[in-house]
C-alpha cells in the first residue's frame, strides 16, 4: 500500500482489528474520490467566475456583478443549476453509447490525473514514483474522449474539432514532455513530492528556475505547450467558435457539456500545478520556510511531519501553509493562461502545427541538451 498516505494511516489506526486491510483501502479510495470530485467542481466554478472577471476587466467591463452579492461570486453556482436543469439532448444520428461515454471519459481521465497531484507535503491520493508521467499520460487520455465525442456526434463541426484536437495533441505532447525533462534532470525524480522537496533551501527560494538558467526558457516552452494541451486560446482550435460553432462540443448540451468545461479548467489547474512543482518551487516559498521553522522539528523524506517543533506544536499549520502556497502558485498559472487567452487572437491550424513542430519541439530539445550539459559541468 502507498506509504505515508495520512488518511489510510489514520483509518488503520482507528479501525479495530477485525476490519480487514482492503476495507480501509476502499474507504480511503472513496474519501479520495469524493474529495477530488468536490475539488474539481469547486475549482471549475471558481475558475469560470475568475475567467469572466478577468476577461471583463481586460475589456474594461465588470463581468458578473449581481448573483450572490459580492461581485457576482455565485454566478457559476447559478449557471451550474441552469445546466443541470437543461434538456439532455442526444442527436438522432449520434452513436449513443460513445456520445454518452465521451464526457465521462474526459472527466474521468482528468480525475485520474489529479490523483497523483499533491495537496500538501504528505497529503496526496496516490504516491506514484512516476507521478509526472502518470499525469501527462492521463491528461493525454482526455484527447481520446474528445475524439470520441467528435465522432459520435455525427456532425461535421464536431468531427473537424476532434481531428484538430488529435493533430494538436500529437504536435504538442512532444514539446510538453521534452520541456519537462529539463527540470526532471535537475530534480532527479519523477515524483512531485520529492521534486518539491528538492527545492527546499535558500529560505524557500531555491526554485529550479533559479538553479539553472536554461530552465527559464524551458518554463516558457512548457507554458506554451500546456496552453495547447489544455485547448486554451490562442490554441483553442478544437472548439474554435467562430469557425466550428463549438467544435467537438457542438452537439452537447446541459450537464454533459459542462463536463467538458470542467475538464478544461481542471486540466488548466493540473498543468499549472505541474509547472509550479517542476519550475517554481512547488511548496517552497519564504512563507513555507517560516512555517517549517516555526512548526516542524523533524519530517520524513516524503514531507510527513514526524516531530512537531516545541514553539507551537501545530504541524498541521505547516501543511496548510504549504498547500496554500502551491494552490496560489497554480492559480496564478491559471490566471496567466486567462491573461494570454484574452490577449492573443486564435491562430490558424497551420500556424499551430508550424509552432508545434518547427519551433517548440527543436527549442525544447536544445534546452534539454543545454540543461544536461549545465548539470554535468556543475556536478
Amino acid at each position: 500500500m502507498q506509504h505515508g498516505n495520512l488518511v489510510h494511516e489514520l483509518l488503520s489506526g482507528v479501525a479495530p482489528e477485525a476490519v480487514p486491510e482492503w476495507a480501509t483501502i476502499l474507504v480511503t479510495a472513496v474519501i479520495g474520490v469524493s474529495v477530488l470530485v468536490g475539488l474539481v467542481s469547486v475549482l471549475a466554478m471558481f475558475s469560470v467566475w475568475l475567467e469572466r472577471k478577468v476577461s471583463g476587466h481586460i475589456q474594461c467591463r465588470y463581468g458578473p456583478m449581481y448573483v450572490g452579492g459580492w461581485h457576482g461570486w455565485a454566478q457559476s453556482l447559478a449557471d451550474g443549476v441552469k445546466l443541470l436543469m437543461k434538456e439532455d439532448m442526444i442527436p438522432l444520428g449520434a452513436d449513443r453509447v460513445l456520445f454518452v461515454l465521451a464526457p465521462a471519459l474526459v472527466l474521468g481521465s482528468i480525475f485520474g490525473a489529479m490523483a497523483a497531484m499533491p495537496l500538501a507535503p504528505g497529503f496526496y491520493f496516490a504516491d506514484i514514483n512516476l507521478g509526472v508521467f502518470f499525469i501527462l499520460g492521463m491528461s493525454a487520455l482526455t484527447t481520446i474522449g474528445v475524439i470520441m465525442s467528435g465522432w459520435a456526434s455525427n456532425s461535421k463541426w464536431s468531427l473537424y474539432g476532434a481531428m484538430r484536437e488529435a493533430a494538436q495533441v500529437v504536435a504538442y505532447e512532444i514539446p510538453l514532455g521534452i520541456s519537462l525533462l529539463a527540470p526532471l534532470m535537475v530534480a532527479g525524480t519523477f515524483n512531485l513530492l520529492e521534486a518539491s522537496e528538492a527545492q527546499s533551501g535558500w529560505f524557500g527560494m531555491k526554485w529550479f528556475v533559479f538553479q539553472n538558467p536554461f530552465l527559464i526558457p524551458a518554463a516558457v516552452l512548457f507554458f506554451v505547450a500546456a496552453l495547447a494541451e489544455t485547448k486554451r486560446a490562442p490554441f483553442d482550435l478544437p472548439e474554435a467558435e467562430s469557425e466550428l460553432v463549438a467544435g467537438f462540443m457542438t452537439e452537447y448540451s446541459g450537464i454533459r457539456w459542462s463536463f467538458f468545461f470542467m475538464e478544461e479548467y481542471a486540466a488548466m489547474f493540473l498543468m499549472s500545478i505541474v509547472g509550479a512543482v517542476f519550475f517554481f518551487g512547488g511548496f517552497e516559498s519564504p512563507f513555507t520556510s517560516l512555517a517549517e521553522w516555526a512548526f516542524v522539528a523533524e519530517s520524513g523524506a516524503d514531507g510527513v511531519v514526524t516531530e512537531a517543533a516545541g514553539i507551537f506544536e501545530l504541524p498541521l499549520l505547516y501543511h496548510v501553509t504549504a498547500g496554500t502556497v502551491l494552490a496560489a502558485k497554480a492559480l496564478f498559472g491559471v490566471f496567466l493562461m486567462m491573461w494570454v487567452r484574452w490577449t492573443l487572437p486564435r491562430v490558424r491550424i497551420d500556424q499551430v502545427m508550424t509552432m508545434g513542430y518547427k519551433y517548440l519541439t527543436p527549442l525544447a530539445l536544445v534546452v534539454v541538451l543545454a540543461t544536461g550539459f549545465w548539470e554535468l559541468i556543475l556536478s
Binding site: C60, M65, T343
Partner: protein
C-alpha cells in the same frame, strides 16, 4: 551563407513571437488594472442629454384638452378624452400608442400651454402589445384643486346670488315702504 540567414530568420521569428506576446499582455494588463468604463446600468445611468426624445410626459394641470398635439401628430398616435364642466376638465384618458410613435417631437411645438414634453426615459419594455398604448395621465377625473376651485366658484356664485337676492328684497321693501307713504 544561406544557412546562416535561415537561422537568423528562425531566431528572429522566435524573438518576435515572445516579444509581441509580451507587448500584447502589457496592454491587456494595463486595461485589467484600469477602472472599467462601463456603468452598472439599472443602478447607475449615464447622463442623458436634455433634448433627448424619450417617453413623453404631460403636465396635466396645464393641459386644456385642445387636441393641438393630436392634430400635429403625423401618425395619429395621440388620443385624448375629457369632459368639460364649465372651465374645469374631468379627465378620462390621454393615450399615446408607442407602437406607432416615432418620437419626432412634432406634438410638443403646437401646444399652446407648453404642457407636453419629451422625457428622458427610453427603456419601454413589455410582454404585451396592449401595454404600449400608454396613458400619460397622472390622475383620472378632476384635479383636486380644480374641485376646490369649482366649489369655491359655486360658493362665490351662491353668495353673490344671495347678496343679490338680499339687495333685491331690501329694494323691494324700501320701494314698498315708499309706496306705503
Amino acid at each position: 551563407m544561406l544557412a546562416s540567414s535561415a537561422v537568423r530568420e528562425y531566431l528572429t521569428n522566435v524573438w518576435d513571437g515572445v516579444r509581441t506576446t509580451l507587448v500584447g499582455m502589457r496592454i491587456t494588463g494595463r486595461y485589467l488594472l484600469q477602472k472599467p468604463i462601463t456603468v452598472q446600468y439599472p443602478d447607475e445611468r449615464l447622463p442623458i442629454p436634455d433634448r433627448y426624445r424619450g417617453i413623453h410626459y404631460l403636465e396635466q394641470e396645464k393641459c386644456i384638452n385642445c387636441l393641438a398635439c393630436a392634430r400635429a401628430c403625423p401618425i395619429d398616435c395621440i388620443e385624448m378624452d375629457a369632459i368639460r364642466h364649465g372651465k374645469e376638465l374631468e379627465w378620462v384618458s390621454f393615450t399615446l400608442d408607442y407602437q406607432k410613435c416615432m418620437f419626432c417631437e412634432l406634438c410638443v411645438y403646437p401646444c399652446p400651454k407648453d404642457c407636453i414634453h419629451m422625457g428622458t426615459e427610453f427603456a419601454y419594455v413589455s410582454f404585451d402589445r396592449s401595454e404600449f398604448v400608454h396613458d400619460l395621465l397622472s390622475f383620472k377625473g378632476m384635479a383636486p384643486d380644480a374641485k376646490v376651485r369649482m366649489r369655491e366658484a359655486k360658493e362665490k356664485k351662491a353668495l353673490k346670488e344671495a347678496a343679490k337676492l338680499a339687495a333685491k328684497q331690501a329694494k323691494d321693501e324700501s320701494e314698498g315702504n315708499g309706496d306705503g307713504d
